[in-house]
Amino acid sequence: MKNPQNDQELLESFKNPATKERAFTDIIKKYQERLYWHIRRMVVDHEDANDVLQNMFIKVWKGLENFREDSQLYTWLYRIGTNESLTFLSAQKKRHATSLSDEENGLSNKLKSDEGFDANKLEWKLQLGIQSLPEKQRLVFTLRYYDEMPYQEMSKVLGTSEGALKASYHHAAKKIEDFILNN
């Protein structure tokens, strides 16, 4: 296993100036892929995901000393990653002064510009369906579908009740199904 240390050990090491950098590096390595893909599913483009991920970890460095260990590290990291992704998308929207639907079309267009894109393949239709969702539903769907996150954890990440998340996931799945059947 690449990262045998558990979160508690990593946090302890981070508090020690002598091992702080090593611990931070280990935290990044432990969570980088999961967070990268979580962010990338939101922003679609690799370079955007890279910017968001790096900014996110810089904030983690600054905030980790004050991290309250009553919440799980990975939940906290997902929350920061989510906030950073939403902030990025919001800034992008303002920059381009586009409407919500235009922005969503923009993300779909980014998908379509991928060299492997095939409109006839179900997998790509699924991706387009996901990108057609409003931001919050997209978050809920991808966290559940790809990250297999329990509603209880998701509730901590998104600050929404479990009931609302279940409803949101249900609506999202139905909308994607409709999208696939009608496109």
Partner: protein, 243 residues
């Protein structure tokens, strides 16, 4: 990867069509991308914009080779740059001074420090101050308001003199000392105070409200993004009515 059965069944119930779609990541990178080490990309890869951009230009989709392997070093170097630390600078003079300590510490200080702190903490625990909570602060405000009105009324009435004794004078005479005032306030129940404030009171003391709200528990910016009812929920939670 095997799907979590519970999540898989849930999706099957909502949409059998979606449940049948293979959960592959179509934006994933070619095999070996994550494992292969990008030796050419050093710790300063992201600081060296020209090289980085050149590397990224060659890849239109997916993740550049070695991206994840070097990510932590790249972020760490950025953090250092932001913090004003330059890892390449020679701090040999400072390093040589690192182990010398000009400050004097009483003998045995560190050995007993934890005991001293623990003992102080225990003392503080015994003399713990009970703070005014959000739920009770308005009672104290109301009591102070009523006490103030009583004192002012008494002052005016006793200084007016004359034979025209208003009904208030008789009442005010009952509250001439602080003990009498305290007893008078104690005899009021919550309903009387609320009723008085509803007809006469106007709580507009923003400082008092702000001082009694724990700002650490205020919703974050993101909470408002996620839930339109965030403000309502927060106000309900702290038990403040608004109209």
């Amino acid at each position: 990867m095997e799907k979590n059965t519970e999540i898989s069944n849930e999706l099957k119930a909502i949409s059998p069509l979606l449940a049948e779609i293979p959960r592959v990541n179509i934006q994933s990178v070619p095999p070996g991308y994550f494992e292969s080490l990008g030796e050419r990309i050093t710790i300063y890869s992201l600081l060296n914009q020209e090289e980085t951009e050149e590397d990224f230009k060659t890849i239109e989709a997916g993740v550049p080779a070695g991206y994840f392997e070097n990510l932590s070093d790249s972020i760490l170097s950025k953090v250092k740059t932001i913090a004003g630390e330059d890892v390449e600078e020679d701090y040999s003079v400072l390093n040589s001074l690192k182990n010398s300590n000009v400050f004097h510490v009483p003998k045995g200080y560190f050995e007993n420090l934890s005991d001293t702190i623990l003992s102080k903490m225990q003392q503080k625990e015994k003399t713990k101050v009970i703070s005014i909570t959000r739920k009770t602060w308005w009672k104290y405000m109301a009591a102070a308001l009523i006490a103030g009105i009583m004192l002012v009324s008494a002052f005016y009435l006793f200084n007016l003199g004359g034979n025209n004794v208003s009904p208030y004078l008789a009442a005010a005479k009952e509250y001439q000392t602080s003990t009498q005032i305290a007893e008078g306030i104690a005899s009021l129940n919550d309903d009387d105070i609320i009723s008085y404030l509803e007809t006469h009171g106007n709580i507009t003391d923003n400082d008092a409200i702000l001082n009694n709200i724990d700002t650490d528990r205020l919703p974050t910016e993101a909470d408002y993004l996620f839930d339109n009812n965030t403000l309502n929920n927060f106000l309900n939670k702290i038990n403040i009515d608004y109209k």
